[in-house]
Symmetry: C2
Subunit: 324 residues, 2 copies
């Protein structure tokens, strides 16, 4: 850390000028401004939709003793919290599951920090810092939440279409219509037909968002619930944007019984000690629940038909590169 | 850091049980749940008010090369951002000022992390992690923003009073009425009459929120604008809650000319190098602006007449103590 500080102190002023030039050019870019305004409309529309259905908006959590392990490797910077070794939030999965002990329906505009590996820097879909609208409902099943998503998305799209009409026109963007019930594709069927990159392939061919369901157990984190009627597969679902924009939403029913949680942690080659605070909470009892997270920047990108998620935020945190 | 991890790993299970018990008892506490619901209503009401006035809601910033220096000592954990030495956001002051290059009116529900010294742990008003609704308006003056705050607060209070009536009743809370124009008290007059703890003294005597204006230069950060007509005093303003609840809002016009910024940094005994990215941006030109920040947890506490800000969040981050 001291080394990094030293390195930064040695950057000459002209190099700083260039970076600042780049950062200021970015936030003055009309396309970026349009993307940010679409994100603003999306936040507003989601807030209206969820508050209108009596969800409780809970405060975000930024540092904590436990966060989402994720299913792919990210680096894990630690913060010294008065002598305790804390993580930065990668998602609020555990906290929102705990929150269902307090409220039936919760959501949060939750900033996530994911120090992604460098090979994800050119995808157009990844930022180190982004906002996930994270939601969880106690005693809900997957079908309930899929309906909720379909209604929310319909509402967001129609609201943005009317309120942000001039922006969409400026961007030359015509948002595709959305059916009230979206198509469901089984993971294995899609994989069989389109091979390993089926998600992107299907996304490119699609005209409206669609679901991928019944994802194999080891493809996801331990906390997504295994289907008791279909062992080896999860009661979860991804929503995929059409037109090649890729993943929109990841969600599912949750494991909530201690025995199942411990078994699933071990099946991933992880140890209960890595998630001790969550495991201890589960030991005291968690209710069944289902929920999802939707990235605001990806949603804004799709709404605007933009090239990258960087165009939806004034201060994009780029993978591997200094960012304001 | 490795040492902290080691210390945490040695905590026996029974000690974890106790902490988890405490954390779960907290989020099951009906008073806490009422406080969180009030916060949810407050976020909703603010969002409606500001979106209704065409503010752009910008995404929060959590890690960055520069953050608010604040006017009191807090510890400053660093995060290694791909080899760069980044800070955790203490407030979005610099980023929102830059954002006025893109938009006339911006706001953000901005999570702030402030590792406060231990002597603030018992105030009932401080959390390590909290949300500040941070707002900035290009080319606005202090009077414009004071009016905006008065209108926003009136709107939030009347909305919460009607939508959260059962919660307020449950808490036995009668919210005091609010005048459309709030009283203004000059800092020096207040200090002369009530001594060094005038803020709390005035807060205890007040029946509705009131302003403190014309704060002496060295009492605040370098970025608040000095009054050209009244050297040594700032064009800023604090809003104070009545009934002893203390500070609600801190705001002001901003220094935006490079020469003034450099002078003010030096007057604080700080160096431009500590704020180099901000100083470089100012070198390229910043517009005049005015804005403020309001803490959601303190607002929720006052709305509910609660004992502490901890009662307004499910996962309070306590100063000096392990927190979920």
């Amino acid at each position: 850390m001291a080394q990094a500080a030293h390195a930064a102190a040695r950057v000459p002023t002209s190099a700083i000028d260039e970076r600042i030039d780049g950062a200021l050019q970015h936030l003055r870019n009309p396309k970026v401004q349009a993307g940010v305004v679409l994100g603003s409309h999306a936040r507003r529309a989601m807030s209206e939709f969820l508050h209108g259905r009596d969800f409780v908006e809970i405060p975000p959590v930024i540092v904590a003793p436990v966060t989402d392990p994720l299913n792919h490797p990210v680096s894990d910077p630690r913060v010294d919290y008065y002598g305790h070794d804390f993580q930065l939030t990668r998602s609020m999965i555990f906290h929102k599951q705990l929150a269902t002990l307090a409220f039936e329906k919760v959501f949060c505009f939750s900033p996530n920090l994911r120090f992604e590996p460098l090979d994800r820097s050119g995808t157009g879909r990844h930022l180190v810092e982004f906002t996930q609208m994270d939601l969880e409902v106690r005693d809900a099943g997957r079908d309930d939440i899929m309906r909720l998503v379909e209604e929310m998305l319909t509402s967001v799209v129609s609201t943005v279409r009317s309120r942000a009409a001039p922006i969409l026109q400026e961007l030359g963007r015509t948002l595709p219509p959305i059916s009230s019930r979206l198509r469901r594709v089984r993971y294995e069927d899609a994989q069989k037909e389109f091979g390993p990159s089926f998600e992107l392939e299907l996304s490119r061919r699609a005209k409206e968002p669609f679901w991928i369901i019944d994802i194999p157990l080891l493809e996801r984190e331990f906390y997504d619930r295994e289907d008791p009627k279909h062992p080896g597969f999860l009661l979860d679902m991804d929503l995929i944007y059409p037109e090649g924009y890729g993943e929109a939403i990841s969600g599912g029913e949750r494991e909530h019984e201690l025995g199942r949680i411990l078994e699933r942690i071990r099946a991933k080659g992880q140890t209960p000690d890595e998630f001790r605070w969550y495991v201890e909470a589960a030991r005291q009892g968690l209710p069944p629940s289902c929920g999802f997270g939707i990235g605001i920047e990806r949603l804004s990108r799709w709404l605007g038909g933009l090239r990258t998620v960087e165009e939806t935020t004034l201060f994009p945190k780029r993978i591997g590169a200094w960012s304001l």
